[in-house]
């Protein structure tokens, strides 16, 4: 059975890539731009196929045995010295869970995009990029060695860059895109160094070999810790965690479905996946683990606070994404691997839902994104309102939504992390409260109260192509908590024990409290907060704790000014100086050639005298 399916494994990433090639090659077949339908069919169809293939494989192979494993090696990639890398794919339940998210949610978002991007002159380019992204993401997920994973890793980064800057005419988008790529590139470079360190230490880059080796490594040895931290650097960059989180809010410049797919559901969670993938390595070093946990916890809080005061609908969602991924990192940090992945899945569902419905709102309001010009939309966009509400509920982890189960798992783990009350857990609870607050603030500001300025000329832009994915995602956001991936074979960890009842209670109460606060403050979307000017603290939160300002001062400005100063190459002056000296000497000597015979005779005499003098010396 397994070896029957192995060959098909390669097709899962291959199909979207073929779609990509087809899309960029289309104009070569008939020279004028092909009709949108063609592009849509190719783009959506290829992803759909790979989604179906994934489902098929899961159904027939993975569903009934949790320890199922598929692997296929395509060709020898590198064989230099001791380095031997194959172009190999490997699939277990962890990968399968990711595959389901990527292909499934990816397909839905493709479908949605087909409607959303209608009439854009870059339609074909859009789907090409999107397909390339899915392909790269799938490679990332199924890679058997770290270098192949890195290939996918960079590939998705590139696609993110291209799609953020998709509307290239507005150079602000381009800047956001570059920021995203470069900030993540910083993390990626750290990750690459981590790879190199791992290789020079363990002599392999195969993930499984590394994991086994790391498991057998003496605890807390420096190299392993360092390698783990370097990998964490990569993860932090990709998943927009502290201190590299600044790119994600700006990344909202891209089309909304892109934000849904790349910057909520799949790419940004790649960091979580990486750490889960390499969990034995991280297990081997407490420092690394606690680093992960602390990064997660801090990000969770900081992003949450920022999300509470944003005024742009997509920025709120962006910060909430950062904060939710913070949850996942926190989970990883406390060793709740399953919880992390589980939350990753549910988050993919409800955040995609939120983004897509936000997309419909934005489209309905003719690309108006400011919260305070919205309001009272629940009457005008009932369907969207429904979806959005479900999304918010699930995001806030109200009981019995998908988000509830995953978050609950995490919080339990966090509780018993140090066998009782601890900072990590408390941060989690606080985060839950904040989440409840900002998610419902968002809901109320958009859909409740009386109409905002933009709400007047609102017309429902949803069409069939867009409603279908929304409804599917809504269902998943509600009941996705029921399908937990059987990861116990991947992660050998003790199942969550029993925490005292009040802990459960707090976990449930916190988001509801947040909801209540939001209700009090934003029920009528004219809130006291907005009527009076912002306090300094809010300004700080609004600017995402001033990280952008800090980095601009610390890194960007010095670099650019240095570049400007040295634009024409200081080292050049060495040679110009030499040339100048030669020219001066030339002028000096030329003055001696003044054409006066008597002067010549004098110089001759001097020469003779010099010679005789030298004679005495020598």
């Amino acid at each position: 059975m397994q070896d029957f399916f192995a060959p098909f494994l390669a097709w899962i990433p291959l199909l979207p890539l073929l779609g990509f090639v087809l899309l960029i090659a289309l104009p070569l077949f008939h020279l004028r731009e092909p009709p949108e339908a063609v592009s849509a069919v190719v783009g959506v169809g290829s992803v759909c196929l790979s989604a179906l293939l994934t489902l098929l494989i899961m159904w027939t192979l993975f569903l009934n045995n949790p320890s199922a494993v598929l692997q296929v090696s395509l060709w020898q990639w590198l064989k230099v010295g001791a380095l031997q890398l194959g172009f190999d794919f490997y699939l277990d339940w962890l990968g399968m869970a990711m595959l389901l998210v990527v292909t499934g949610v990816g397909f839905l978002i493709h479908l949605y995009s087909a409607g959303y991007m209608h009439g854009d002159d870059g339609y074909r380019r859009y789907f090409a990029y999107l397909n390339l992204f899915v392909g790269a993401m799938l490679i990332l997920v199924m890679a058997d060695n770290l270098l192949l994973l890195y290939l996918g890793w960079e590939g998705v980064g590139l696609c993110s860059y291209l799609l953020i800057g998709f509307w290239y005419r507005n150079s602000a988008n381009g800047d956001a895109a570059r920021k995203a790529f470069i900030v993540t590139r910083i993390g990626d470079t750290a990750m690459l160094l981590g790879l190199i360190l791992l290789f020079s230490q363990f002599g392999t880059l195969s993930i499984r070999a590394l994991n086994t080796a790391a498991a057998s490594a003496p605890a807390n040895n420096l190299t392993v810790t360092l390698a783990a931290l370097l990998l964490l650097g990569g993860a932090v960059g990709k998943s927009a965690q502290l201190p590299l989180q600044t790119w994600l809010p700006d990344a909202m410049a891209g089309p909304t479905p892109v934000s849904a797919l790349i910057h909520a559901a799949t790419m940004v969670t790649a960091g979580v996946y990486l750490i889960a993938r390499m969990h034995p390595l991280f297990n081997a070093s407490e420092t690394a683990m606690s680093a992960v946990g602390i990064v997660g916890a801090l990000t969770l809080l900081l992003a949450g606070f920022s999300a509470m005061v944003q005024s742009d609908i997509k920025r709120v969602l962006a910060y909430s994404t950062i904060s939710q991924i913070g949850y996942m990192f926190l989970a990883l940090g406390v060793g709740a691997w399953t919880g992390a992945i589980f939350h990753l899945m549910t988050h993919a569902f409800f955040k995609a839902l939120l983004f897509l419905s936000a997309g419909s709102v934005i489209l309905s309001l003719h690309h108006e994104q400011s919260l305070f010009s919205m309001g009272g939309l629940r009457r005008k966009l009932p369907f969207t309102f429904g979806c959005f509400a479900i999304g918010c509920a699930s995001l806030a982890a109200l009981p019995f939504t998908a988000g509830f189960y995953s978050k609950d798992q995490i919080l339990l783990k966090a509780w018993e992390y140090q066998g009782g009350f601890n900072g990590i857990w408390f941060t989690g609870i606080l985060g839950a409260l904040i989440t409840g607050f900002y998610s419902f603030r968002l809901l109320f500001l958009v859909f409740f109260g009386n109409d905002g300025p933009a709400s007047a000329q609102c017309k429902d832009a949803n069409n069939g192509v867009m409603t279908l994915p929304l409804s599917v995602l809504a269902v998943l956001a509600l009941f996705g908590g029921l399908l937990t991936p059987p990861l116990q074979r991947v992660f050998t960890q003790a199942p969550a024990g029993h925490a005292p009842l009040w802990v459960e209670g707090v976990a449930i109460a916190a988001p509801i409290l947040g909801l209540a606060l939001a209700w009090l403050l934003f029920r009528h979307n004219t809130s006291p907060m907005e009527s009076r000017g912002k306090s300094a603290l809010e300004k700080l939160w609004f600017s995402g704790w001033g990280f952008d300002w800090l980095y601009h001062r610390l890194l960007v400005q010095p670099l650019t000014s240095l570049a400007r100063i040295n634009r024409n190459d200081i080292l050049n002056s060495i040679y110009n100086g030499t040339a100048f000296i030669c020219r001066q000497l030339h002028n000096l000597l030329s003055t001696s050639q003044n054409g006066l015979i008597r002067w010549y005779i004098a110089s001759f005499t001097c020469g003779a005298i010099i010679f005789l003098a030298l004679l005495v010396v020598l």
Binding site: I24, W75, Q76, W77, L78, K79, V80, G81, A82, L83, F87, L147, Y150, L151, W153, E154, G155, L158, Y161, G165, Y168, R169, N170, S171, G174, D175, A177, R178, F181, I182, R185, I186, D188, T189, L192, L193, I196, L197, F199, S200, Q201, G203, P218, N221, L222, T223, L226, L559, L562, A563, R564, N566, R567, D569, L571, N572, I574, Y575
Partner: protein, 527 residues
């Protein structure tokens, strides 16, 4: 070994092709391009006759060699030979020659015949450099390739061409004088030691030198090659030369001539002076790292698109230097791969800049912008090669840079770590170029406002696409290259046995575990 074997034939064909091209233009006033195309194709065909050596692993190190007495007075002989490394370089040379010819098919109006004369002679000189194994002959070709290049820059270049040409020539010439000095000294020392007066590389390989002498001679070679590479602080000729040269000239310079420096290091400096090189390695590696970062920084600062690409080559060639002096197979293979990949990507970028200049007659990024909307094909290609040059995995450049870093890490952790930040720099300048030229609102220089630029011609597009395919192939199936280059590198690998004396003292012990016995077996030694 008959004198009428393939290698001299290749060189002869290029030389004669050049002369023919000139004459044909002079007397029939057409046909020079066709002649050059034909002669290059013939050269390629001749080169292809070495195919059997690729498929079966060659037994001997040298696939083929020729030796004719030239100046017996000094034991100088006209001796050429080819091995895997040489083959790769020759293939690169011929392919890039063809690419440059095709992609700039319509560029040259003024004295076309003379242009292609110089073009082919440069290529012939380069072929000679890559195949000569007599040090005198090597130097001979080393100079022969400069002169036509000088004319290419000085006659068909842009505004500031004359100073640029002079600078280019003086830098390379002055440094190569040092090399000549070193060569003659080496021969003299070998002669006075062994009584055999010869310039033959294979015999000089086992010359016995005192460490002091070896070090000085090594420096003589190193400087000459470092200028060509170019490495800090001897790089300043390059931006001017690249910027002022005509597109085809820039392609030759970037894709081929720079490689002669790297080739020289790998073929001559390292094997001839192993201990000295090992002792010098830390310095060389630091220079390499410095070039990587400094080049990136300056590329980031440029206004002129061509200068940007030029400085980016400084940065990329820094990886080559780093890899060569890391003294292990992995890094050396990376360096070789970098030579090829950089040749491809930079040649493509220069041709694209040339295309833009031809259409909008400006390279100034302040005047350009938003070209994507008017030139989608060109922009997409540019995007591809920009991404390639910032080291996107799946393309050749990444493989090269990764291997270089991987290998050099064993030799020196900190330099490697610093060099790795060059990857960020690459992203900075490459994306900046994309942003300023192709994205944003459409801006074209005033004088170009009137006529709307036409997108890439099929000819240009095809040439570029083939390069792109090549890069993709190098990125996904690089093993072919490694297999070809392996024996040659393994031969220099003999020095890596001696290397650890230099490397071990550098590698900071706190980073490696003493606990495990098997940490060392994988310092990439040659099999």
């Amino acid at each position: 070994m008959t004198p009428f074997s393939t290698l001299p034939a290749i060189i002869a064909i290029l030389f004669c092709g050049g002369i023919l091209a000139w004459l044909s233009e002079r007397y029939f006033n057409r046909g020079s391009r066709q002649i050059s195309l034909i002669s290059l194709s013939v050269a390629a065909a001749l080169l292809a006759t070495y195919w059997p050596h690729l498929t079966d692993s060659p037994t001997g190190v040298w696939w083929d060699s020729v030796q004719i007495n030239w100046i017996p007075r000094f034991g100088i002989s006209f001796s050429l030979a080819i091995d895997g490394l040489g083959f790769l370089m020759l293939a690169l040379t011929v392919l890039m020659g063809l690419f440059g010819l095709v992609v700039t098919w319509r560029d040259i109006r003024f004295r076309r015949g003379f242009f292609y004369f110089n073009y082919l002679w440069t290529l012939a000189g380069v072929v000679g450099v890559f195949t000569a194994i007599d040090l005198f002959l090597f130097f001979f070709f080393w100079e022969v390739m400069l002169l036509p290049m000088l004319f290419l820059i000085a006659v068909w270049g842009y505004e500031e061409r004359i100073p640029a040409a002079i600078k280019f020539f003086i830098f390379t010439q002055a440094s190569s004088l040092l090399m000549l000095l070193a060569i003659v000294t080496l021969v003299y020392l070998h002669y006075s030691a062994s009584g055999i007066l010869t310039f033959n590389y294979r015999e000089l390989l086992n010359a016995q030198l005192t460490p002091g002498n070896a070090y000085w001679l090594m420096l003589g070679f190193f400087i000459a090659f470092a200028v060509k590479l170019p490495a800090l602080p001897l790089h300043t000729w390059l931006p001017d030369a690249h910027t002022q040269a005509p597109t085809a000239g820039s392609i030759l310079l970037a894709a081929i001539l720079l490689k002669t420096g790297a080739y020289g290091l790998l073929r001559f400096t390292l094997p001839l002076f192993p201990e000295a090189s090992a002792a010098f390695a830390p310095v060389a590696m630091s220079i390499g790292a410095a070039s990587i970062i400094y080049g990136a920084l300056l590329a980031f600062a440029q206004q002129d698109m061509k200068r940007l690409v030029a400085y980016s080559s400084v940065s990329h060639m820094g990886f080559v230097l780093l890899g060569l002096y890391a003294m292990n197979t992995v890094a050396a293979q990376g360096a070789v791969m970098q030579m090829i990949a950089h040749g491809f990507s930079t040649a493509a970028l220069f041709s694209l800049v040339g295309a833009i200049q031809k259409r909008l007659n400006s390279r100034d990024m302040a005047q350009l912008g938003g070209l994507w909307s008017s030139l989608p094909k060109l922009s997409a290609t540019a995007l591809f090669f920009a991404v390639a040059s910032l080291g996107m995995p799946g393309l050749g450049n990444f493989i090269a840079e990764f291997l270089v870093l991987l290998g050099s890490f064993d030799s020196n952790h900190w330099i490697t770590a610093i060099a790795a930040t060059g990857l960020i720099g690459a992203a900075l300048y490459a994306l900046l170029m994309m942003q300023r030229v192709f994205f944003g609102g459409l801006r074209t220089p005033e004088d170009a406002q009137t006529r709307s630029p036409t997108d890439l011609k099929a000819r240009e597009f095809l040439a570029l696409i083939s390069l792109a395919a090549g890069l993709l192939l190098l990125g996904l199936r690089p093993q072919v290259v490694f297999d070809i280059a392996q024996p040659a590198i393994a031969r220099t690998g003999t020095l890596h046995k001696k290397a650890p004396t230099a490397t071990s003292q550098i590698s900071s012990p706190k980073l490696r575990l003493s606990a495990w016995p098997d940490t060392d077996h994988r310092r990439g030694n040659s099999p």
